[in-house]
């Protein structure tokens, strides 16, 4: 065979060769090429094989034909069969060829492919500040995708605040659900979060869709570190640190009021 791996629809050329390994000439030789299931016979290329074959150490080309792969899989060809008669005894004999295996790949199905990109408006964030993620989705194929879901999965120190109009809130979590994404269609969506706690904040945008054959999931993770807020240091001190000056101010104000009244007529 000229190929051992083909795709469905590809043509394979099969060449049948024979060698007489006996002690006398083989007469009245006929060849049955033995077309294998899974292949469709296309044409015979060479059929003028000799009717006699003397004892030899080399192979003689006997038959060439072409078939088309019609089924995927690893297919072992049916053996070619040679029928001949002995020059000494005149009896009829048969001999089968080897059975080479051909791997036929499955047929390529055109599917959609959604490209997912995530960007953010800040590289640093402080507690109580907001950060907006922009999710960009593009169908790079000519096949539409269906059942698209865009879900931001975020850690506890982030709180969803607002987003694009496509965003729905289901079970207190934001999600975008789109039934169909046309060929070469692209769009972007925004999710705004408020940083509630200090530390590393993980946000993974998860995109799921059906590409026409199967469900595909893509994820883009990102991490941002939330620093202490501008006035966070205030909460580090005990309450008396704040109460003491307030009490002093109130006492001074009270004293000034009382004193002013002493001098007011």
């Amino acid at each position: 065979m000229d190929k051992s791996s083909v795709n469905i629809g590809d043509t394979i050329r099969v060449t049948i060769k024979a060698r007489n390994t006996g002690s006398g000439t083989a007469n009245r030789i006929t060849i049955d090429p033995g077309i294998s299931p899974g292949f469709t016979f296309k044409s015979s290329i060479y059929t003028t094989y000799p009717s006699e074959l003397a004892v030899s150490t080399t192979y003689t080309q006997m038959y060439i034909y072409e078939v088309e792969a019609a089924k995927s899989g690893s297919i072992q060809l049916s053996p070619a069969t040679a029928t001949y008669s002995s020059s000494f005894f005149g009896d009829d004999y048969t001999s089968s060829s080897t059975r080479p295996t051909v791997t036929v790949a499955e047929e390529q199905v055109e599917t959609s492919d959604l490209e997912l990109t995530v960007s953010q408006d800040k590289t640093k964030i402080k507690r109580n500040e907001k950060i907006t993620y922009t999710v960009y989705v593009r169908n790079v194929k000519d096949v539409p995708a269906s059942t698209i879901k865009i879900t931001p999965v975020f850690s506890n120190n982030l709180t969803y605040v607002s987003g694009s109009e496509e965003v729905d809130i289901i079970n207190d979590k934001p999600i975008i659900q789109i039934s169909n994404y046309g060929a070469r269609y692209e769009d972007e969506y925004k999710f705004t979060f408020k940083a509630e706690g200090v530390g590393a904040s993980n946000l993974t945008v998860k995109l799921t869709y059906n590409n026409g054959v199967e469900d595909i999931t893509k994820e883009v993770p990102s991490v941002i570190y939330v620093e202490e807020g501008k006035y966070d240091y205030l909460s580090e001190y005990p309450i008396y640190v704040y109460l003491t000056p307030i009490l002093i101010i109130v006492a001074i104000a009270g004293w000034l009021y009382w004193r002013s009244n002493q001098f007011r007529m």
Binding site: W255, L256, R259, N261, Q262, F263, R264, M265
Partner: protein, 367 residues
């Protein structure tokens, strides 16, 4: 510790009393909020006025120390109205004073020219002298001479009534003499009030100091009993560089006195109090200058208050036998009274003219 009563009557008296209270707090604008008054003695201050607005404008005198005598809004510089008003309300005033306890000495501060102060003060002193046996001194502020004929005649009568009231002495301060203190009229008034307040606080300290070589209330009484019943106060502050004798001299020179007087010629008795660091108070300088003064006027009491690190200050209290300036004031006052009388006579003639016109009342012209 002495018990001292200070009563300020009328707008001028009220303002000087307020200045004394301010200086006692320390002099700062907001000192009343964070400071206590630093009177050396127990001092009770009372402001009396018929004009509520004058009392309201006081800033350092407590509301409980202000007595409003209801008479619309003042007596309009009319001493007759003022006297009647005092007589109608003297029980209220005297009851308020008696509620403040016993006193060793009293000062009544007033202007001689206004309505309330000049009319209330002689009557108030008379009442105090009738009810109590402590000495009562008056501090009288004379007007700018150009302030008008009513103020001049008020001053003349007020001073006379003051002397007749039984006061133990009249300390004179003269706006006319002191008018160069400030630029505008308000600054001048404020400056004069502060000058009087500083001197009064110094005087109180001199009367109630426990240090050696000091004067006391008895000395002050003796000084004030000399002369013609009039006195004035001088003050000077040295810079520590000039000798103390020049500071003493400045205190009874025209730039240190509250009233224009040639003390070497007009003085009767004097009390000189020096205060400051020991290093500035050279005893020879002090004795020399005081001996010079006493050789002219007679006896001079002297007191020394030692204050570490303080530049020398001198307070002089001088009683006067005669005062040329007071003579001038009375000459002007007589002219003012004459002028007012002539105006009144002219008004009387005008009323006669009105009587002439009344002859045709009820008649109609006949044609």
């Amino acid at each position: 510790m002495l018990n001292i009563l200070m009563v300020g009557t009328g707008q001028c008296g009220n303002r000087i009393l307020d200045s004394i209270n301010r200086e006692a707090f320390g002099g700062g604008k907001f000192s009343k909020y964070y400071s206590r008054q630093k009177f050396p003695s127990r001092v009770e201050t009372i402001a009396v006025n018929t004009a509520i607005n004058d009392l309201k404008e006081l800033r350092y005198t407590k509301a409980k120390d202000r007595i409003h005598i209801p008479n619309l809004h003042g007596v309009g510089a009319n001493r007759m109205v003022g006297k009647q008003c005092f007589n109608d309300n003297k029980d209220l005033i005297m009851r308020t004073i008696s509620e403040r306890g016993d006193f060793d000495v009293a000062f009544v501060i007033t202007s001689s020219s206004g309505g309330t102060g000049s009319s209330f003060s002689p009557l108030l002193i008379k009442e105090l002298k009738a009810r109590y046996d402590f000495p009562v001194y008056s501090i009288v502020v004379l007007p700018f001479r150009e302030e008008g004929s009513i103020y001049l005649q008020n001053s003349a009568f007020c001073l006379k009534e003051m002397r007749d009231s039984g006061t133990d002495g009249i300390i004179l301060a003269d706006n006319q003499f002191l008018k160069d203190v400030g630029g505008d009229i308000q600054s001048a008034y404020d400056g004069i009030n502060t000058m009087v307040a500083e001197r009064m606080l110094f005087l109180l300290e001199a009367l109630d100091s426990e240090m050696m070589m000091v004067t006391d209330l008895g000395d002050f009484k003796t000084v004030m009993s000399g002369g013609a019943g009039f006195a004035t106060i001088g003050y000077s502050k040295g810079d520590g560089k000039s000798p103390v004798r020049s500071v003493i001299h400045d205190s009874f020179s025209p730039k240190g006195l509250l009233f224009s007087s040639n003390v070497f010629e007009e003085g009767s008795r004097a009390m000189i109090i020096l205060r400051g660091d020991r290093k500035y108070l050279n005893i020879d300088d002090i004795s020399g200058e005081i001996d010079k003064l006493s050789s002219h006027i007679g006896h001079v009491f002297k007191g020394v208050i030692i204050r570490s690190g303080e530049a020398p200050r001198v307070l002089s209290v001088l009683t006067l036998e005669t005062t040329a300036e007071l003579e001038n004031l009375y000459t002007l006052a007589v002219e003012a009274i004459q002028m007012e009388k002539e105006k009144r006579d002219r008004m009387a003639l005008r009323k006669e003219a009105d009587a002439t016109f009344s002859k045709i009342e009820g008649l109609e012209p006949q044609y």
